[in-house]
């Protein structure tokens, strides 16, 4: 095997291991699948009963935002799992084997991608139940889900980086919550961000969450001409902006996480 096939083959072995682990921990799996359902019900019926968006139902407006939120929360599994494994001897075993060192992170992010896929499927089903609909072609809808999954995968590398820098599950959880909440809420995911005061609106306009949410809305057809959207470039060009974000996140955090992994395990 060469430098390209080895990390893929070994990464797949590690991904299978992680998938088995997830299956053996039903509480973890049901947690990952229940949370999005709870979020949908909570936001759809609590916020939905007080918030009006012009020209469309709030639920249709909301669901793409919830998808992105679930991706952000789901991708944290990557970081959290890594911090748990760091506490044990398993990485020593991996490092004494003739495997590709990068396979550990590749395998982890791939298995978490599968989990995020499962969570998206459950959410889409729940969305349909509460009244969310896709108004575009199946092709565009598929593109929408693909974009969300690509974001989930890239964001996994970001949480891996944070986790490998912090190294303990406690520290990781604290920081992850502190980072992900502003990221989710200072955005257009739950609200029409054009109503926000200027400084917050600027942040929301350039927040990647807003770009992904807007892109998902466009690809699922959950938009209305009666609604004003921001003039900011990432919102006006949400799909290319999202793709750009994915590339930037991967280019920055894949090498960074790989380096931090080497440091963390050779201490």
């Amino acid at each position: 095997m060469n430098a390209i096939t080895l990390p893929i083959a070994d990464g797949w072995t590690i991904a299978k291991r992680n998938t088995l682990k997830i299956r053996r921990q039903p509480d973890l799996l049901s947690g990952a699948l229940m949370l999005p359902i709870v979020l949908i019900l909570l936001f759809a019926y609590v916020f939905g009963s007080v918030i009006d968006v012009p020209g469309m139902s709030y639920k249709e407006f909301l669901l793409p935002g919830i998808f992105v939120q679930a991706v952000i929360i789901g991708a944290q599994t990557t970081g959290y799992t890594l911090t748990l494994d760091l506490q044990k001897g398993i990485f020593d075993r991996f490092r004494s084997l003739p495997m590709a060192p990068s396979a550990v992170l590749i395998g982890q992010t791939v298995s978490d991608l599968l989990m995020n896929l499962a969570s998206l499927v459950v959410m889409a089903g729940m969305g349909l139940v509460v009244g969310w609909r896709v108004h575009t072609s199946p092709y565009e809808a598929a593109l929408g889900f693909a974009l969300l999954l690509a974001f989930a995968y890239a964001f996994s590398w970001f949480t891996a980086t944070v986790a490998l820098a912090l190294r303990t599950p406690e520290n990781f959880n604290n920081i992850a919550t502190m980072v992900s909440f502003p990221l989710m809420f200072v955005s257009n995911a739950f609200l029409d961000s054009s109503n926000l005061p200027t400084p917050l609106r600027v942040v929301a306009d350039w927040n990647p969450v807003s770009a992904f949410t807007q892109a998902a809305r466009e690809l699922f057809g959950n938009t209305s001409t009666a609604m004003t959207t921001s003039d900011a470039w990432p919102i006006q060009h949400a799909v290319p902006a999202s793709l750009l974000w994915i590339v930037v996140i991967l280019v920055v955090f894949v090498p960074l996480a790989t380096r931090l992994y080497k440091q963390a395990v050779s201490a």
Binding site: D92, R95, S96
Partner: protein
């Protein structure tokens, strides 16, 4: 290539602490070398350097003909490592753990599966093969971890304190397993804090302290190096213990050890029977009632104390932390408390 493992002037520093201080040794192919030493002596660091987990600051390591730094990937294909704490996945079954390791050695799917079953049988884990490791006992975990090191049938094995934290029965069982393993011709580097373990498993023992080799030889050679015999006496009351100590100072050729709780005194002497006769005479003159007296050869415990204990006066045999490499949660750092080593931990306390 007659040496399967060569360490040449290995140095590893952690800030101020020097974990390995130009450590050199070699292990001939097909033999077992035990690194014996207290916690923090550098045993684990040595294993981590030789298994490519840690880069040495200086020196060279060659394992199975491959350099630990320059040729790490090919080296890893030739070694098996089992650590201080079982490096297995709790949520995976025993079979799944071994299969995964097989895949990562690139044995292929079918061979990995067959090899996993084979090892489970050999390590008496067939019944637990399809249960998550989470439910395994400590001894079973060690066995599955050891099996993990053997998946690729590597010519060189590293076992880092394989029995630390195990109860005596599980330890003896694991000893038998390890003895069986090396009878097949593998080279083994073993680290241990237990003299008995080194004596039992190793062809050669390397005593390490503060990252340096301080003695090397077979168990018998090391005992000879410490020299002489030991007179062991049991007296009748505590006051007599002090009297005996004073009375016998002239005959002792090294530090005497007293165990107040069991009223026991150990006196190193040069000539055996004659010394014993004289000692008993002197004690009778001093009015000490001797309940029990005997002559014995030095144990590895004596070797260990003579070689390491006196080198660092004031510090115990279990001091000197080795940052980041010796976590050993819940293990016992005191060699003397090993129920099987046949010594009393208080003997060392009294000696400090």
């Amino acid at each position: 290539m007659s040496d399967a493992i060569i360490a040449e002037g290995l140095v590893k520093r952690y800030g101020e602490v020097t974990a390995l201080d130009e450590l050199s040794f070699s292990v001939p192919q097909g033999t077992v070398l035990a690194l014996l030493g207290p916690n923090g002596a550098g045993k684990t660091t040595t294993v981590r350097v030789l298994t490519t987990l840690l880069r040495p600051d200086a020196g060279r390591g060659i394992v199975a003909g491959h350099d630990v730094v320059g040729d790490a990937r090919r080296l890893r294909a030739k070694i098996g490592l089992s650590g201080q704490y079982a490096a297995v996945d709790e949520h995976l079954t025993g079979a799944e753990n071994l299969e995964m390791v097989g895949r990562l050695y690139h044995l292929g799917a079918r061979r990995s599966r067959a090899r996993a079953r084979e090892l489970l049988e050999r390590f008496d884990l067939t019944g637990a093969a399809d249960r998550p490791v989470k439910g395994y006992s400590g001894g079973m975990r060690r066995r599955i971890d050891l099996a993990g090191a053997l998946v690729a049938d590597p010519p060189v094995l590293f076992l880092d304190e394989p029995t630390t934290g195990l109860d005596p029965r599980a330890r003896t069982a694991l000893w038998d397993t390890i003895s069986e393993l090396v009878s097949g011709g593998s080279t083994l580097l073993l680290t241990t804090q237990y003299m008995e373990e080194a004596d039992h498993l190793a062809d050669q023992i390397l005593v390490v302290d503060h990252g340096r080799a301080i003695a090397r030889g077979t168990a018998d050679e090391l005992k000879d190096q410490v020299g002489g015999n030991r007179i062991e006496l049991t007296v009748t009351d505590a006051a007599e213990l002090d009297t005996a100590r004073e009375t016998l100072a002239w005959v002792a050729v090294g530090a005497m050890r007293t165990v107040p709780e069991s009223l026991r005194l150990t006196v190193p002497v040069t000539d055996g029977a004659e010394a014993l006769r004289q000692v008993l005479g002197r004690l009778a003159d001093a009015g000490v009632r001797v309940r029990d007296a005997g002559l014995r050869r030095p144990t590895l415990d004596d070797v260990y104390l003579t070689l390491t204990g006196h080198r660092a006066p004031g510090s115990g045999t279990d001091s000197d932390p080795e940052p980041g490499t010796d976590p050993e949660p819940g293990t016992d750092p005191e060699p003397g408390t090993d129920p099987e080593s046949g010594t009393d931990p208080r003997a060392q306390e009294a000696n400090r």
